[in-house]
Amino acid sequence: MIRAVAAVGVVLAVVACVPDRSPEIVSARLSYGGGDQAALYFVAQGSDDRLLEVIVGEAAGEFHRTETDADGRTTMQPLTDPPRLTTRSPLVFEPGGLHVMVVGLDPATFSPGEVVDVTFVWERSGRQRLRIPVVDPSAALGGPDG
C-alpha cells in the first residue's frame, strides 16, 4: 500500500515537472470566399492556456460563436471572455460553432490555395506564429466529404 502511494507520488511529481508546452494547433484553415472577410477554424490542444488574440496577416480577428435560437435562427455573438483550453479539453473552432472572424482583408493579397501568416497570442505561452492554408468555404467543414 505504502509502495503504491509512493509510486503515485512519483508519477504526480514527474507530471508536475513536465515543462509547460505551447498549445498544439491542428487542422487550421482560413475559410475565404472573397471580399474582405474570412473565418479561421482550428483545434488547439495539449496545454492549459487562454487565447487572448489571433492576428491574421495584419488584421486582428474577433472571437465569435454562432448560436441557434429556439426557432432555429442562427446568429454570431462575440465572446466576452478569452476562450480557454485545458490539457483535457481541446479548444475547437469549427463552422457553426466558434470562429475567429477576420474583417478588413485585402482581397488582392491572398486567395484559396495560398498560405497566410497567423499569430496566436496565448496568456501563458505567449506568441505562436503559424502558416495556415487558405481554403474555399466549400472546404471549410474539413474532411473528405467536403
Partner: protein
C-alpha cells in the same frame, strides 16, 4: 402450405421490387420533409432591379432557396460555395436548377452588394432583396422564422437551404453542416422529381 410459400414469394418479390426502384424521396440524404409543402408565392427585387416572382420564375426547375446575409463569414459562404461546387461538377443538374439567395439584412444587402457577393460563388445565382416588410412576408411564406436584424446583436437568420423540386414541392431541407457529398447525391435525384410519376 403451398399457399404459405406463395405468400413468402410475393413478399420477397415486393421487397426486390422496392429495392430495385426506391422512391425518389427514399434516395435523398438531406433532411426529408414528412409532409411536403408547396412552393411559396412571393415577389421581391432581383439584383438588376427587376421584380422577381419566385414561384413563376422557378416553375419546372429545382429551386434552392436560402435566406442569408452578405456580412456573414461562417454559415452563408459554406452553404453557397458547397452548392456552387456541386453545380460546377454537374452541369446537367445546374441547367435545371435555380439558386435563389434572399439577403435578409435590408440595412446593407442592396442589389449591388448582393450581386458582388454572389458572383464570388456563381454568377448564375439569383439574389433578391426588398423592404423589411417584403422580406418578412417572403420568409413567413417559405415557412422559416423571419430574420431578426438588430443594430446591437446583428442578424439572426434561418441557416438552412430549402429545396423545391420541379414538382413545386419542398421535399427536403439542408441544414447547416450538410456535407457536399449529400448535395452531390441529392440534387440529381431532386431534378427528376417532376411529379409526372404521381399523375
Amino acid at each position: 402450405m403451398p399457399r404459405r410459400i406463395h405468400r413468402h414469394v410475393l413478399a420477397v418479390a415486393l421487397l426486390a421490387a422496392s429495392c430495385a426502384a426506391p422512391s425518389p424521396t427514399g434516395r435523398l440524404q438531406g433532411v426529408v420533409v414528412e409532409d411536403p409543402t408547396p412552393k411559396p408565392s412571393f415577389v421581391l427585387t432581383d439584383t438588376s432591379g427587376e421584380r422577381y416572382d419566385f414561384a413563376a420564375e422557378t416553375e419546372g426547375k429545382l429551386a434552392l432557396l436560402f435566406f442569408g446575409y452578405t456580412n456573414c463569414p461562417d454559415i452563408c459562404p459554406v452553404q453557397l460555395s458547397q452548392i456552387a461546387e456541386v453545380l460546377r461538377q454537374m452541369p446537367d443538374v445546374a441547367a435545371h436548377t435555380e439558386v435563389v439567395f434572399v439577403g435578409v439584412d435590408w440595412r446593407r444587402d442592396t442589389p449591388e452588394v448582393i450581386r458582388a457577393y454572389l458572383d464570388r460563388f456563381d454568377s448564375r445565382f439569383v439574389g433578391l432583396t426588398g423592404t423589411a416588410e417584403e422580406l418578412e412576408r417572403a420568409q413567413v411564406a417559405a415557412g422559416v422564422p423571419p430574420a431578426v436584424v438588430d443594430a446591437d446583436t446583428g442578424v439572426a437568420h434561418a441557416g438552412w437551404v430549402i429545396a423545391y423540386a420541379p414538382d413545386g414541392m419542398n421535399h427536403v431541407i439542408y441544414p447547416f453542416g450538410t456535407r457536399q457529398s449529400t448535395l452531390m447525391n441529392d440534387l440529381p435525384v431532386l431534378v427528376t422529381m417532376t411529379g409526372e410519376d404521381r399523375r
